[in-house]
């Protein structure tokens, strides 16, 4: 009897395994194919890209030369790094303290304020764009990193992420630290931050990606050619009456490389940080 049971179990596990793996393989192909196609397209001529070639071509050097010749690629890369980097540092600083504060020092009023803050997540950016432009223009921040970064430093999502993760942070440790004479900011920096590395890593990934990919806002406030970012450069490449798809794909490749590096470097923490917030 038990033998039959074991056989049955193995069989069902096996069939489940085949089904799951088939599904996963299809999912992987669907997710990886666009990336694969992008890399292949970057090495081909525009005509070959259009005709759907899936074999690496020999046009990479020409595409690179055309890309460098027609755009200010390195300037745009540096700008994107600058905007996204500064945004990440400042956002993490502001949102982690806010999230920590909302959880650790919470009372009825702060909770209500927090709910109000979450409502802000639902306001689309297009609705605040014009008044925001007015403010930024008023303070002379057009064409500046400050103009780009300031409106997005504090985001409800990040504050929520930090707050949810702070829930699992034991209050006993805080009490012990207070008894030992550590100041409140000391508790935050010396105890909270080191224990929340995963959340910070997840936040870095999210903020950096948002900053890097942001298009509409920089497009509105960055007016000079020297201040364009990578998404703006890519948009410019496909706006003309003639689009060179090889060059376009190469620029997209350049654009996603930093994101890939950051994501893979922090992948482990990213999953921990995000799942931590759901628990």
């Amino acid at each position: 009897m038990s033998v039959i049971n074991i056989n049955k179990k193995t069989k069902s596990t096996q069939s489940l395994g085949v089904g799951t793996y088939t599904f996963l393989i299809v999912a992987v192909i669907l997710s990886v194919f666009p990336l694969f196609w992008m890399v292949i397209a970057a090495t081909n001529k525009s005509v070959d890209v259009i005709s759907g070639t899936l074999i690496p071509g020999s046009n990479l050097a020409t595409n690179y030369k055309n890309l460098i010749g027609s755009t200010n690629l390195w300037q745009a890369m540096w700008n994107s790094f600058k905007y996204a980097g500064i945004m990440t540092v400042l956002s993490l600083l502001v949102c982690s303290i806010a999230g920590y504060g909302f959880e650790i020092y919470h009372d009825k009023h702060k909770d209500r304020l927090f709910s109000f803050l979450l409502l802000a997540m639902m306001i689309p950016f297009a609705a605040v764009m014009i008044p925001l432009y007015q403010m930024v223009s008023e303070y002379g921040l057009l064409n500046s990193t400050a103009g780009f970064v300031l409106p997005t430093i504090s985001t409800p999502f990040l504050i929520m992420l930090f707050r949810q993760n702070s829930r699992s942070f034991p209050h006993e440790i805080i009490d012990a630290a207070r008894i030992d004479g550590l100041s409140e900011i000391g508790i935050f920096i010396r105890i909270y931050i080191p224990t929340q590395k995963a959340v910070f890593a997840a936040a870095v990934t999210v903020v950096f990606m948002n900053g890097w990919n942001n298009y509409l806002w920089p497009k509105i406030i960055m007016q000079s050619n020297d201040s364009i970012s990578m998404p703006m450069l890519i948009a410019g490449l496909q706006s003309g009456y003639v689009t060179d798809y090889g060059v376009l794909m190469l620029s997209v490749l350049f654009c996603i490389l930093p994101m890939l590096i950051i994501f893979f470097a922090m992948q482990r923490y990213f999953t921990q940080g995000i799942t931590g917030s759901i628990k």
């Binding site: 525009s46 005509v47 259009i50 005709s51 759907g52 027609s70 600058k82 500064i86 540092v89 400042l90 600083l93 764009m129 014009i130 008044p131 432009y133 007015q134 223009s137 008023e138 002379g140 921040l141 057009l142 064409n143 500046s144 990193t145 400050a146 103009g147 970064v149 300031l150 550590l182 900011i185 000391g186 920096i189 010396r190 509409l216 497009k219 509105i220 007016q223 000079s224 050619n225 020297d226 201040s227 703006m232 948009a235 410019g236 496909q238 706006s239 003309g240 009456y241 003639v242 689009t243 060179d244």
Partner: protein, 431 residues
């Protein structure tokens, strides 16, 4: 502890100072110099290259002149930016010169009249431009724009594919849509290739057909002319027929549309002459294309084989620090320089400056288009385009008609769908 706090403070100070430094540095970019003009446009290869050439020509006599071109990516982005800036009232952050789509010119003026500068009393001679073109930027008898490129409609065909079906380009020249439908069915049958593709959700083909018969979506008094527009019904019928036959296929977006003929899946295309540059992008098809005029509508007395799609004009904004310089720049370049039009003709830029039609450059054969002198041909077409009532609500009417066409495609009754479209436009106009 102190060390950590100190590090944290240092990071914050460094980040803030970097913010402020970059802010100060870039915010003080000097656009106030009287001999400098800043221009916003899209498509560096086409519009940008033309402006650059114009600046070079103007610099010969005005060495101190400096033109700063700021590429805005595409027209939609420029429009979003213009709307944001004009709505916020911070007009001083506008450039000196803007490139504006002809069809959007009037609506932008109506929405934000404070953005535009009257260029009527300048030394720009507007009589030297095609009158249909100048009309886009004339409001209440005042000129607010300098005409730029042409959008005369061409119909390009793959002659190698036509030959397989036993046709030549002459069989598709000066024909009507009923002849076209008949011949396109033969081509599809024998070669398996449709002769036309369109962008789904775009009413370009409908509008080109309408204008070819001198019909507009507006009456001369500015009221919408949709539900009782006989030409529109004829156009819708023709368009539906070609979709049903499969001689015209719809692509999901713009790149799908351009890819359809660049990849050789579709054997022809019909749109503004600026598409010639895109067609020539498929270098493997050199010598296999020819252009001709579009078919005319059957049974419409005013029908012609000529129409217009696209084109843009330059506007000088109210933020311009030196309107005289801007006006003189346009008068000396776009308004009188044959050298400019000759130079940019290679990029496929065809101006609406009338004397440029006599240019020797225009009559040069184009090898890609089987040796046809396409610039001369297009200029000839441009001169025959019927003028129509555009109006400020052109884009709204286009969108409404487009929705109606999609409804008719899904089985709605044409009259009801067009009535809805007319009601929508009336609502937009506040009627």
């Amino acid at each position: 502890m102190k060390k950590i706090l100190f590090t944290l403070a240092c990071i914050t100070i460094a980040a803030s100072s970097l913010l402020m430094a970059s802010g100060q540095k870039e915010a003080t970019v000097d656009t106030s110099k009287s001999d400098e003009l800043v221009v916003w446009l899209w498509d560096m290869g086409f519009n940008g290259a033309t402006m650059q050439k114009a600046a070079e020509i103007y610099k010969e006599d005005h060495p101190e002149f400096n033109l700063v071109i700021e590429d805005q990516g595409d027209w939609n982005t420029l429009q979003t930016k213009l709307t944001t800036i004009a709505s916020s009232g911070k007009l001083d952050s506008l450039p000196d010169i803007l490139l504006i789509q002809d069809n959007a010119f009037q609506k932008n003026y109506m929405s934000f009249p404070e953005v535009f500068t009257d260029l009527s009393n300048t030394n720009i001679d507007y009589t030297q431009f095609a009158s249909g073109k100048t009309g886009y930027s004339v409001i209440d008898g005042k000129n607010y724009g300098v005409p730029f490129d042409n959008g005369a409609v061409i119909f390009g065909y793959r002659t190698d594919i036509l030959a397989k079906a036993g046709y030549t380009i002459d069989d598709f020249t000066d024909i009507t849509w009923s002849q076209w439908l008949k011949q396109a069915r033969v081509v599809l049958e024998k070669t398996g290739k449709p002769l036309l593709s369109a962008q789904a959700g775009s009413s370009d083909i409908i509008n080109m057909m309408l204008q070819s018969a001198g019909a507009s979506l507006f009456n001369t008094d500015g009221s919408p002319n949709i539900v009782n527009n006989d030409v529109l019904y004829k156009v819708a019928e023709t368009y539906m027929q070609m979709l049903d036959d499969g001689t015209c296929i719809e692509a999901t977006d713009w790149s799908g549309y351009t890819n359809s003929f660049s990849s050789g899946a579709v054997a022809g295309t019909m749109t503004g002459c600026w598409i010639a540059a895109t067609i020539q992008g498929a270098t493997d098809q050199a010598g296999k294309w020819k252009i001709t005029n579009m078919p005319s509508l059957d049974g419409i007395p005013t029908a012609t084989n000529y129409s217009n799609n696209g084109g843009s004009s330059w506007a000088v904004t109210s933020a311009c620090k030196n309107v005289d310089l801007a006006a003189d720049f346009f008068a000396m370049t776009f308004g009188s320089s044959m050298e400019l039009y000759d130079a940019v003709a290679q990029n496929g830029v065809l101006g609406t400056y009338l004397p440029s039609a006599n240019s020797s450059v225009y009559s040069q054969p184009n090898e890609f288009f089987s040796g046809q002198p396409i610039m001369s041909i297009i200029t000839e077409f441009a001169g025959k385009v019927p003028a129509i009532e555009g109006g400020a609500y052109y884009y709204d009417a286009r969108d409404a008609v487009c929705t109606a066409i999609t409804q008719i495609q899904s089985g709605a009754v044409a009259k009801e769908a067009f009535q809805d479209a007319q009601d929508t436009v009336n609502f937009m106009m506040g009627n």
